[in-house]
Symmetry: C2
Subunit: 127 residues, 2 copies
Amino acid sequence: MTENRSIVSSSHDTSGRQVRLARLSAMGDPVTDELLRLRMSIDNMDAALVHLLAERFKVTQQVGELKAAHGMPPADPVREAEQIARLRALAEDARLDPEFAEKFLNFVVAEVVRHHQAALNRRDSDM
Amino acid sequence: MTENRSIVSSSHDTSGRQVRLARLSAMGDPVTDELLRLRMSIDNMDAALVHLLAERFKVTQQVGELKAAHGMPPADPVREAEQIARLRALAEDARLDPEFAEKFLNFVVAEVVRHHQAALNRRDSDM
């Protein structure tokens, strides 16, 4: 069984791999079953994360357009401080490392800034 | 109205700021209303993202324990390639930049590796 698992791990045939994992699972290997089950949960959550992030960027785009249309500054340090404090508290409740929650927000905000900058560049090139 | 908005933006009193925004909103400023509405959606999505990430790390911790208990290698390049390809495709469907989706997965996986390393260090110090 260990040999089968090492074949699974060393395979570079992406499409055939799930087939082999499924075959091992059909053979009733409980460890492979458990690994497949856990990975399906990870994949479900990753799909949810990607769709949530897509929606979040739609909303931050609307915020950027609203601010630009009304001459409001794009950055808002007070709002960002509030968001960080809130996310850290939520992370603690959910037993997620608050440092990671803060890094995550910074990672997403950096992408928002990149979007806003790209939008400004497009506007400049239209003029 | 522009003056009120600049007071809101330059305030460093985090706790009083939502109160002032809410007061502007009560005065019927439609731009402030819209900004508050959009920010509430961002905050709701951020709470969902943090809770999903907390759940995801619980599952990757189980994967790490399962692999360690059965002598399976912690890293799995084939699985990671599959995850990247799948997330990029999901991102395209959701109109999210596939590059960002890949960067996001790498960001999360780096944290998973950090958790696994921390778990190994704890185990070593127990010996």
